[in-house]
Amino acid sequence: MLAIFTWLADGIVYTLMGFQEGTRLADSIHFFVEDTTKILVLLVVMIYVIALARASLNLEKVRHYIQHRHRVTGYFLGSGFGAITPFCSCSSIPLFLGFTSAGIPLGVTMAFLFTSPIINEVAVIMLWSLLGWQFTLAYVVIGVLVGITGGVVLDLLRGERWLQSFAAKAYQQAATSPHSEADPTESGQKLTLSDRHEFAVEEVKEIVGRIWKWVILGVALGSALHGFVPEGWFAENLGSGQWWSVPAAVLAGLPLYSNATAVIPVMESLIVKGLPVGTTLAFCMSTVAASFPEFIMLKQVMQYRLLGLIFVILLINFMIVGWIMNGVSPWLFSGA
């Protein structure tokens, strides 16, 4: 079915624009046309379908599901909901405080916040269309694990000691005297199909309106890499034999603050050109999940010690992901 986009790009680039097949420039442009059209069409269709399904999910419900759970279940739920809940990073602070003041452990809340930027429907759709389902599955599992381990380690180190005092107070109050709240899963009225349709159309407009520039930018960068970096260059210079390439990729990704949308097309090109899968993932996650604007926001509710701790945990996590994936990828993607 996706072959239609290859065919479309053939028509536009070779026939309409008259480029000679096989030149670097034509390769790059073909890649750009095929991927932008494919991704944008898939995004519109899939975001609509997903939004139909989750129209009735909101943060109050999520909090209700996570609250009063066993801690271990909490980590999985926190990370899992982080993956599926639509959520803008500008809401991190109210969400953090909403969870904390409901007595949800810091690690569970952070499992949500760690996983949320790594996994979202846009990232999954793009990975699936560019790199196939095995890679997408591996990415999702790793994203959830990064969130869970981050949360568990924070709780083991008793990170809640270093919350800002008003947040710590709210957490303790909730832990000692849990006030029962109305069950948000019962109060809301049932959504009709036309309500869901309306919500889904708004979601498509909102999300695609926000990310289309990033798709184009990401694919343009990917296309440039695709056409102009020689085959196997990365494999020779930054192959998995060099253990230091993983920490180097994590550090390189740090100052680049971007979202998954722009990074994924670049990832695809890097992998195709022979950069090891683990190194590429470490780079991608460091770019997407550890961003300075986010940290500056979190400063409002956390002391520097806790922020520093979170930062270090994330970096170590990404390096471990990189090394493990470099180690197992020969078995995972024997064909690619």
Binding site: L59, P94, F166
Partner: protein, 77 residues
Amino acid sequence: MRIEVLGTGCRKCDNTATAIREVARELGIEAEVEKVTDPSLIMQYQVMSTPAVAVDGKVQHSGSVPTKEAITSMLGG
């Protein structure tokens, strides 16, 4: 009437405040629009998705930039 736009300072919060001022002016309603960015105050309102709008201390809307119709009904127009 006192209107507070709750949010930690993203662009949507600015858009919300602007939209409310505009509708209030169109309706000829005297409304004092104020942006609340202090996280501890937002927590007291128990709001988890921003931007949110509180009218005279009561939360009326949260999670998005409200539509013109929603603002009109919040202002009682």
